[in-house]
Amino acid sequence: MNLLESIKIGSIIGKYLGGKESKEELVLLRIWLCRASKNQEMFNKLKEEKNIGEAIEAYETYNKELAWERYRQRITALTFRNVLFRWKVAAVFFFLVGCAGILSYINNEWLTPSTSDNAFTTISTNNGQNSKIILPDSSVVWISSGTTLSYNTNFSVKNRLIKLSGQAFFQVARNEEIPLTVTCNELKVKVLGTKFDVSAYPEDRNVSVILESGSIELLKVHDQSFKLKLNPGEVAEFDVERKELFVSKEGSYKFTSWKDGILIFKDDEMSEVFKKLERWYNIDIDVKNDKVNQLIFNATIVNENVEEIFDLIKFSCGINYEIIQSDDPEIPVKVILTK
């Protein structure tokens, strides 16, 4: 016997006493009566008119109309309280939104001159992901994988300031009155309008600047007197530790081809190649044999997948590799190189 059964059998007995039971209910009642002699006793008691009268009289002693009125008032009050609470929440919300609006208005109107140069908009890419953005002055920037680029909020109003960590190719809209500067570490690149590439990954020793067309000026952040003009096709490499700048005339497409989805390796050491592949494909490369790092690698990679690349490396460097996929998308694919 459980509570639900008791409720069901109770209402069946009630229907029986009122002569309103269905055939099925009568069957259930008979079964219940057969189950225990105690049930039969109870049933006999329940159908005595005297007991029915007594129970009904007991029910009659309670003023249900009055009780309902009391209950109705109480739940109305509760509902009202809940509605009031919701309104309060809404009121507080709108008050805060209003405050925020006023504050930001004050901020814009009065505080802009002092904060504008410090406020930056930041864009970053993960490894294995390239991106192209258009700056407010309609300059175009291709952002390579694993790069963070920020520009000041009122870009192109008074000045054009860009901070870079990683690699990006710039196609700068010409504006001689407001020069564009790209700052990375100690090196500043000042431009009027041109196409150039800056690679300044924090883990790399060198910051390299490659000019494709136009002209740019290189400046050092902590050395006001320093100034170097770069000509098209030239590559400037800045040693971050020694703070020295080298300029060489190298085929620049090797450095800027990434923006077209092409990766070119020409007489590059494997250690450099691995670094680039790690960023390009968002993978982890674990080199078990150090000797591999010193090998020189030449290749042009267009749309090849990771396996195809490592098949090529396996073939040219005489090594074996193993690719370990991970279930967690946050953890990059791991490639282990063995001899």
Binding site: L17, I31, I52
Partner: protein, 202 residues
């Protein structure tokens, strides 16, 4: 659940609707009477049942069907009554005064059956005209027609008419041993009946 009480219907997850007012009118007397099997003071019983109804309204949870709602009310009322007794540390004293000397799950179920059964009749009786209801109640308490006529200050024939109409809410010849005749054949049908019981339990 209730939109500022303009709508007193409560939706059950099986699609049935429960009219809160109608439910209150049958369940309030029944539960208060049920509570009085634990606690003697009627005012305490009424307060307890009021609070159970409030907590039902506040919970706003979805009940699968009407039986679940009823079960909630019986369980909540019983728990509130037992809490009340415990709280005032007068358990022993009250228990001695209540009808059931010791509260057990068994006696709880018996009370549930009793109240469910009588509330079915009660809701039918409530549909009667006032005089018919009064006549029936007096008749049930074993008053003769003459006595009823005297109490209500009406003619005996009027009592008879009311009685004839009012008694329609009850099964004819309740005191007959109707069910015993079917019990004699119980062994034959027991297995088949048990099957039906099991099916309907689901």
């Amino acid at each position: 659940m209730i939109n500022l009480l303009r709508n007193t219907e409560i939706n059950l997850s099986n699609g049935e609707k429960l009219d809160l007012k109608e439910f209150f009118y049958t369940y309030y007397p029944k539960l208060t009477s049920f509570a009085s099997s634990y606690i003697v003071e009627p005012s305490v019983c009424e307060d307890i049942v009021q609070d159970v109804f409030i907590s039902f309204w506040e919970k706003q949870r979805n009940f699968p069907n009407i039986y679940a709602v009823k079960a909630f009310f019986y369980t909540a009322t019983r728990n509130s009554c037992l809490d009340h007794l415990k709280h005032f540390k007068v358990e022993e004293k009250y228990r001695a005064m209540t009808k059931n000397n010791i509260e057990t799950t068994e006696s709880f179920f018996d009370e549930v059956i009793r109240n469910e059964a009588y509330s079915e009749i009660y809701s039918e009786i409530n549909k009667l005209p006032t005089m018919g209801k009064r006549v029936l109640l007096l008749a049930l308490r074993e008053n003769s027609n003459e006595e009823i006529a005297k109490i209500l200050n009406i003619a005996i024939n009027t009592v008879k008419t009311h009685k004839a109409r009012a008694y329609k809410v009850l099964r004819k010849n309740l005191s007959d041993l109707f069910l015993f005749f079917s019990l004699s054949r119980r062994k034959v049908t027991e297995i088949a009946l048990a099957k039906i019981w099991l099916n309907t339990k689901k």
